[in-house]
């Protein structure tokens, strides 16, 4: 195209690739909401007719509500604790030069790559050895192990963007470390903290394998869904539930991305003229 620079020129091949990519990625997921409105207990074409009955039945299911409540509780506890741990870790990693820092950080990030099933079995063995009864607390413990590296990884860029002289300036102007954290560090890294809370909550909320090993009599939502799959008649209700979760997840993820971007824009580049 005339007038366009080389780098801006659109490519037909790439556009086609992008469209195909999105279809492959999202088509299977689109079946969930599609069949959740289908007036049949069988997941098969042709569609039988529109109904919201599955949503109504799901809504009236006390077991589902209990599982949802448990997942929210575990998710919130996990999000708050792992983000708090992440804040301390990210601050230490970005601010101090510790001996053996590289291996130490690597070690902290290890749960990101260890298969969850191994993690789940390991914690289960440890808990039974220690005689700790399985409960939502053990699930939360497992989720903390999974989520803390994510919290650290989310927060490190925020703390790296925090000019160390901001904290020095606060001390210089008379504030001790606690007031400095409250008045300067926290407000500057705040978008990162929100992003970390949303991300860790989502991970915990979704997590099945570790929760499956570590849950006692109280189910989390993924475990409840998995149990329902054994009964074909329950399947449409699960689809309805899945659709709702999907919707909420989308909202949360977009919110977290938006907050991260907005936060990055307010970061100051020192000494740069406008």
């Amino acid at each position: 195209m005339k007038g366009d620079s080389y780098i801006d020129r659109s490519s037909r091949t790439l556009t086609l690739y992008a469209v195909l990519f999105l279809i492959v990625l999202y088509l299977p997921i689109l079946f969930l909401p599609l069949f959740s409105f289908n007036d049949s207990i069988y997941i098969a074409f042709p569609l039988q007719g529109f109904t919201t009955a599955w949503y109504a039945q799901m809504w009236e299911n006390p077991q589902m509500w209990a599982a949802l409540g448990n997942s929210v509780k575990v998710g919130m506890a996990t999000a708050v604790i792992s983000t708090a741990l992440g804040v301390f870790a990210a601050k230490a990693i970005t601010r101090y030069r510790l001996p053996g820092q590289g291996p130490l950080v690597g070690f902290m990030m290890l749960p990101l790559v260890v298969p969850l099933i191994i993690l789940g079995v390991a914690i289960l063995i440890l808990m039974s050895r220690l005689g700790v009864p399985l409960s939502l607390y053990t699930v939360t413990l497992g989720h903390l192990l999974i989520c803390t590296p994510f919290a650290i990884a989310t927060l490190i860029p925020r703390f790296e963007g925090l000019d160390p002289s901001l904290e020095e300036a606060s001390a210089d102007l008379g504030e001790n470390i606690w007031w400095t954290f409250w008045r300067v560090t926290f407000p500057v890294v705040y978008p990162g903290i929100i992003a970390s809370l949303l991300l860790t909550f989502t991970i915990s909320f979704d997590e099945f394998i570790v929760a499956f090993f570590l849950a006692g009599t109280e189910q989390t939502l993924p475990i409840y869904i998995w149990n329902q799959l054994r009964f074909p008649r329950e399947l449409p209700k699960v689809l309805a539930l899945a659709s709702v979760i999907l919707l909420v997840s989308f909202v949360v993820v977009f919110l977290s991305l938006w907050l991260t971007n907005r936060g990055n824009r307010t970061l100051v580049q020192p000494g740069k003229d406008q």
Binding site: L166, E168, A169, S170, A171, D172, E175, P270, D273, Q274
Partner: protein
């Protein structure tokens, strides 16, 4: 050590691991003066400033402020404030809240607080910028806000860490004047760190030239320029021609030297204490040398050949080759006087008066 020391730095050494940033530094800074620490990067000037602020503590020695030792006092309890090199304006607060940041602990009524902030906004000539954020300010404006934020607390000492370094040339010159003006208005002792000699000469009442973690000379800008104590200071401040030589005779008043390219020459013994046989450098500033076609009747003179000439508007620089030394002699001639055209590659006479010479021990 003088009696009027407001800040007394006594035998201060600062080591970072095996690296010695400051080695046994002693200096006095007087109340109300504009004092500069000048040196190349790594000379220890910023370390000294951070010791005064309390971000570092001395490995050895002690710092006294107004008579009290302050080494053990954390930065948030020192009556000392700092303007950071990056300005460190809080990005989440507007200009007013930035300036008022340090006032929280004073527990002032809101009206009084606002009044003080208005006063500061006025002092830094940004009265209408109170509700701006840091990212809506230019570099110069940020610098002023950082200044106001520190001055509002009425510190005993204001520390400035290369505050003009990030500004472009014109703005820097304007800010130099304003900074000096503000310092006179508030009457607070300023300790100013810079690597820019011109800036230090323009702003300071007194300054310390530093290298390798030690002050080389502490004096007024004029004294440092006119009477450098040693070759390193002479080289660092302004430009200087050096002629290597040896003392042949010394009587306390003046010395006789045998100098390369100049031969036997009598010079004043500025620093004193030179003895016969000692190796010295005879230093002459380029702007103190005059050029002429014929041998002038008075002063010291030597013949040379112009190797290079550069016209710089208000002045011209000439590089003159002398017999007997390799490096050409720099001459800086003021173009405002009616000058004759000096032919390139021509033969000229260089001349200078007695007082242009400074004999420095090697």
């Amino acid at each position: 050590m003088t009696q009027d020391a407001y800040i007394r730095i006594e035998n201060v050494t600062k080591r970072f691991g095996s690296f010695t940033a400051l080695g046994d530094v002693s200096m006095d800074i007087r109340e109300g003066e504009f004092f500069s620490l000048l040196g190349a990067s790594g000379c220890g000037k910023t370390t000294l400033l951070r010791l005064l602020a309390g971000f570092e503590s001395p490995t050895e020695g002690e710092i006294y402020l107004d008579g009290d030792p302050i080494s053990g006092v954390p930065p948030n309890h020192r009556p000392v404030n700092m303007v950071f090199q990056s300005y460190a304006i809080f990005p989440h607060l507007d200009v007013r809240d930035n300036i008022a940041y340090g006032l929280r602990k004073r527990k002032l009524p809101k009206a009084r607080r606002d009044e003080m902030v208005d006063e500061m906004l006025h002092l830094i000539k940004l009265p209408d910028y109170g509700d701006r954020r840091a990212n809506q300010l230019s570099g110069g404006q940020r610098q002023r806000v950082a200044l106001a934020r520190a001055l509002i607390l009425r510190p005993k000492v204001l520390l400035l860490d290369e505050p003009l370094g990030a500004l472009d040339k014109n703005l820097r010159e304007q800010m130099q004047l304003e900074l000096r003006q503000i310092q006179r208005t508030v009457g607070i002792t300023f300790v100013f760190v810079t690597h820019d000699q011109e800036e230090a000469l323009t702003l300071s009442d007194r300054m310390a030239v530093m290298a390798r973690g030690k002050p080389l000379q502490i004096d007024t800008p004029e004294a440092l320029y006119e009477r450098p104590a040693n070759r390193e200071v002479a080289e660092f401040i302004g430009s200087m021609n050096f002629f290597e030589g040896r003392v042949t005779q010394a009587d306390g008043q003046g010395v006789d030297l045998d100098v390369a390219a100049l031969g036997r020459i009598a010079a004043p013994d500025g620093a004193g204490g030179l003895s016969p046989g000692q190796r010295v450098a005879l230093a002459i500033r380029p702007e103190k040398i005059a050029l002429s076609d014929t041998r002038p009747e008075r002063g010291h003179a030597v013949r040379g050949r112009i190797q290079n000439a550069a016209y710089l508007g208000e002045r011209s620089h000439y590089y003159v080759q002398l017999d007997g030394i390799e490096a050409p002699v720099a001459v800086s001639a003021n173009n405002s006087a009616p000058v004759r055209h000096v032919p390139e590659a021509g033969e000229v006479w260089l001349s200078w008066p007695d007082e242009a010479m400074r004999v420095l021990a090697e």
